[in-house]
């Protein structure tokens, strides 16, 4: 093996790349920690119906979510089994909806206030009564852009 032996005494030592993975991991962790998906904890059943003509909702920042469905088992003692509305992290009544719309509007930039879309995430087992009531409330609050949340039906 002496054949391959170099008499390199003047060779510059290779730069140690041992710390590179640490840097990459640090980046990885930084992104993992900093990208918090602001998603509320669901307190109602929320199996959305399927539809074939769905479109994606653009501009997530302009969407305000309204969840409707049967309360989850742990809340059924306090709230019963009839479909309820969930706004942010709590149950709400119909009357609170206009205040919610106003606060959602307040939290957006002035130029965006009229382009907020209300994303109705309604459980498929809910009857139309509560949905119609919500729509009436939204009309009264003059927040007319509505998205009936549904998942894409596989063909």
């Amino acid at each position: 093996m002496a054949k391959f032996k170099k008499d390199g005494k003047r060779e510059t030592p290779a730069i140690s790349t041992a710390s590179l993975p640490d840097i990459v991991f640090m980046l990885l962790f930084f992104f993992m920690v900093s990208t918090t998906m602001r998603e509320v904890a669901l307190m109602v059943a929320n199996a959305m119906p399927q539809a074939s003509e769905t479109v994606k909702l653009e501009k997530k920042s302009l969407v305000s979510n309204i969840y409707v469905g049967k309360p989850n088992p742990q809340y059924q003692g306090a709230y019963g089994t009839e479909p309820r509305i969930q706004l942010n992290d709590r149950f709400a009544t119909l009357e609170e909806l206009s205040a919610f719309v106003a606060s959602e509007r307040e939290s957006r930039k002035e130029e965006d206030r009229n382009s907020i879309t209300n994303n109705l995430k309604v459980d498929r087992n809910v009857t139309m009564g509560i949905v119609t009531d919500i729509k009436q409330e939204l009309r009264k609050a003059n927040s007319l852009r509505v998205n009936y949340g549904s998942t894409k039906k596989p063909h």
Partner: protein, 190 residues
């Protein structure tokens, strides 16, 4: 002196970390919300009178609390709604029972026959949301197809491939006129 253990080559751990990073970047899809977009009509005070339309210009779609669908008073299956709507809006034979058409001047398109037909959708408080979405889906499908046909006829492209101005023109030529009647409570069930 104790024998030194040779250092493990760590240069490949960087590759492994990058591989992980790339894998997670590629696989994490943020769940995008999707659905059927609608614009609600502005709120009308209770006592305002509904505008009157000729009978031929209205396609009455009723869904009752038992999730049965009626089109112009006859029971029908949801899957037929799309074709019924398309026929209603197009009125291919200029029949007396189907909606009138109005010639309008639209930018990019010139004079176009625009149907005066309105789909009137009425649901009950007891209708299930799933059924309601199925009906809305069929109506959307009908109008999407009509717009696609119009786009192909005028521009030779599908509606989705048009520019924003062209889309707007087609939307004007095929307006999505679905009117939801003020809610009624027939079934008495909430």
């Amino acid at each position: 002196m104790a024998k030194k253990t040779p250092e493990i080559n760590a240069s490949s751990t960087a590759d492994i970390a990058f591989l992980l990073l790339a894998f997670f970047l590629a696989t994490t899809t943020m769940n995008v919300d999707s659905g059927l977009y609608r614009r609600l009509p502005p709120y009308q005070p209770e006592n305002t009178e509904a505008p009157k339309y000729a009978k031929r210009n209205i396609l009455q779609v009723l869904v009752n609390r038992n999730n049965q669908l009626a089109i112009n008073g006859e029971l029908a299956d949801v899957s037929t709604l799309k074709d019924r709507t398309i026929e209603f809006v197009l009125n291919p034979n200029n029949s007396e029972d189907l909606p009138q058409k109005e010639v309008k001047m639209i930018d990019l398109l010139g004079p176009v026959e625009v149907s005066k037909g309105i789909v009137s959708l009425q649901s009950d408080k007891g209708t299930s949301y799933e059924m309601y979405i199925a009906v809305q889906d069929q109506l959307t499908a009908a109008y999407n197809e009509l717009r696609n046909r119009k786009a192909n006829e005028k521009f030779g492209k599908n509606f989705d491939d048009l520019t924003e101005e062209q889309m707007e023109a087609i939307r004007k030529a095929v307006p999505m006129s679905v009117s939801e009647a003020e809610p009624k409570n027939i079934g008495g069930k909430k």
